[in-house]
Amino acid sequence: MLKHILKALTEGPVTMPGPAPSPAALEELGQRVAGAARVRLGRSLAIREVDAGSCNGCELEIHAINNPVYDLERFGIRFVASPRHADVLLVTGPVTKNMAEALRRTLDATPDPKWVVACGDCAVSGGVFAGSYACVGPVEAVVPVDLRIPGCPPRPEDLLSALLALLEVADASP
């Protein structure tokens, strides 16, 4: 194991260079943020992930942005265990009716100021599950949404650049 760690030290970083904040996400957030009084969050964001009916594909890529290659934490963004510690809810899935109440309660448990990000086609539009008797539909049909990240599932780079845009905006808010 020591050998392994030494090798890792000499091999140089495996982490990819950080992407720029997504211009599209910046624009979407800019529109939402205009006029809204947001408390300055500082250059860090705490995210609580909520699976509201996903196929678990989105979760795999959310996991991936935490691996050493994408390493989300170097930007000051990290996942937390409780909504009470979160600034952001990252919601996946076509919000099943069986999860709608849990999602609402999770949002209620998140302190202000807070942001809701809809992650993946299902969360953005209902995706392939739209129209089912068991789904409410997009996340915004249940809770207000600040940012949408399309993709099925979104690629890790897209998740990173969208979250970086959120960090910029949150940081610049009054």
Binding site: M1, D51, N56, G57, N98, A134, C135, R155
Partner: protein, 520 residues
């Protein structure tokens, strides 16, 4: 009517009449008396329940005689909306029956558990897939769910979920503990029920494939493959040989990626984050290879009825061999670290044990079954091309603990690396047509005939079943998808008994059952 213990097809032939156009294994229709006789037989023998599902006015049960590998389906019409409960003789059937009642309104008579399962009372409809769904109120709050009573001095309950602490799927766990020790765990699932089987109805077989691909995102390749094979069986379509080999290549990449991710996550739940980081790097190497080869990191929607939707990139075969070589170099030192770390072994050895008897009773497959003495693997039996032509071993252990499940996954990664190499070297070449272009390995799935098909495919979690009836207009009349998790989730309840609450994440991760795949 009593049936002596006999061969599967002997019994099924006696109690039922074969149905035409069901492939590749026979399906029989039977009478209530025949069904009861079958239940008597099931109470006393070891045939494995491989599936139990409903449709408006009928139930179907799929069975396998493990020794011979024979498979068959038995169906019972339920004109009065009732059928004798299979769960009364086979505990593995209890949850599937609760689903049949929730979705189709068919009542299992004599069932040990009459509570709903997927229906939490908020759909605004009861029996949504029945011939005549029953409109219902749609209260904003789910119905209260009666958890099973537990009595005893000093017991307390710990409710967990549906929203958990990590980046995982939602489900509710009710622990009853005596101090630190878990006396009972009761699962409550269904939170991510999306109505997949309802959405598939009436769609073209091509359209419905996108839903099968999203049954469980981590098994998207396996789900697409099982669905495609079922449709191809129903319509007697043979996919081009190159497509068959490309499908296996994708399936093995998916298996390796998932096992790597899970080995890392299991170690992380034993507070050894180093392994999560290292395995995360390896998993990433697999996903980026998949992306470079097939244009999608999870290879979603790449397998379709009739063949594959994309061929491998021109440099794909070389990349796969490079990946295999890289993993053969980087994986074994990490395995040695796992094996050497006493602090890690202390957490995984003897934790979360599933007995061989219990695994057999529930017919559990995948790493859960194979760590507890069940050697089944759909790639071996019933097998499907190209695996009948490839060399690989199916690892089996009998300890049944977290450590055994980790070792099964380690061995499976090694076997799958060998399969990747064999597939790349032996895959049929790219055909060129007269114009010099390379057509996709895909044949049209003609929609001028009806048929019923069934397929069993080995996903990374275990055997996945898809049963489909395609109508003469080329649309899906009924499709049932059964993830391996169905027969593993109940065993998790048993595995945690007598362990400490703090070891639950470890046990859970070593199973890694799918919520989405189970909740449909």
């Amino acid at each position: 009517m009593h049936v002596e213990e006999d061969s599967l097809h002997g019994v099924l032939g006696r109690i039922g009449r074969p149905v035409a156009d069901h492939r590749p294994w026979p399906r029989y229709t039977t009478t209530p008396d025949g069904w009861r006789a079958l239940l008597d037989t099931l109470a006393g023998n070891r045939w494995t329940l491989v599936g139990l599902w409903g449709e408006p006015g009928a139930v179907h049960v799929a069975l396998r005689e493990d020794l011979s590998g024979d498979l068959g389906v038995v169906s019972l019409d339920c004109p009065d909306g009732r059928f004798p409960s299979v769960g009364a003789v086979r505990p593995a059937a209890i949850r599937p029956e609760r689903v049949i009642r929730d979705l189709f309104g068919l009542v299992p008579e004599g069932a040990p558990d009459g509570r709903p399962w997927l229906d939490h009372g908020v759909w605004g409809v009861r029996a949504p897939l029945a011939a005549a769904p029953v409109p219902a109120a749609a209260p904003p709050l789910p119905e209260p769910y009666p958890v099973l009573p537990v009595e005893g001095e000093g017991l307390h309950q710990i409710p967990v979920g549906p929203v958990h602490a990590g980046i995982i799927e939602p489900g509710h766990f009710r622990f009853t503990a005596n101090g630190e020790t878990v006396v009972r765990l009761e699962e409550r699932l269904g939170y991510v029920h999306k109505g997949i089987e309802g959405l598939m109805r009436g769609r073209t077989v091509a359209d419905a494939a996108r839903l099968a691909a999203r049954l469980s995102g981590d098994s998207t390749v396996a789900g697409s493959l099982a669905y495609a094979r079922a449709v191809e069986a129903a319509l007697e379509v043979t996919p081009p040989p190159r497509a068959v080999w490309l499908r296996a290549l994708m399936a093995e990449l998916e298996r390796i990626a998932n096992h790597l991710g899970d080995i890392g996550a299991i170690c992380n739940d034993a507070a050894f984050a180093f392994m999560l980081a290292e395995m995360g790097r390896l998993r990433e190497a697999v996903l980026s290879t998949a992306d470079a080869c097939f244009g999608h990191r999870l290879m979603m929607d790449r397998i379709v009825p009739g063949g594959v939707a994309v061929d491998i990139a021109p440099d794909g075969p070389a990349r796969v061999l490079e990946l295999a070589a890289e993993l053969r170099r980087r994986f074994p030192p990490l395995v040695r670290i796992y094996d050497d770390k006493a602090s890690l072994q202390d957490r995984t050895v003897g934790t979360g044990t599933v007995s061989v008897g219990l695994a057999n009773r529930f017919g559990a497959g995948g790493h859960v079954g194979r760590a507890s003495g069940r050697g089944g693997d759909a790639r071996r039996s019933p097998s499907y091309p190209p695996y009948d032509d490839l060399e690989f071993e199916v690892p089996v252990l009998t300890e049944g603990d977290v450590n055994a499940r980790v070792w099964i996954r380690i061995r499976e990664v090694e076997q799958s690396l060998g399969l990747l190499e064999q597939i790349v070297r032996r895959m049929p070449g790219v055909p060129r047509d007269v114009a010099g272009t390379t057509p996709l390995p895909l044949v049209p799935v003609t929609a001028d005939r009806a048929g019923e098909g069934m397929a069993l495919v080995e996903a990374f979690r275990g055997e996945m079943l898809v049963w489909v009836r395609v109508g003469a207009d080329g649309t899906v009349d009924r499709c049932h998808l059964r993830d391996a998790s169905w027969f593993q989730w109940p065993l998790l309840e048993a595995a945690i008994e007598g362990n400490i609450v703090a070891d639950f994440p470890l046990c859970n991760k070593s199973f890694n059952c799918s919520y989405s795949g189970h909740d449909l």
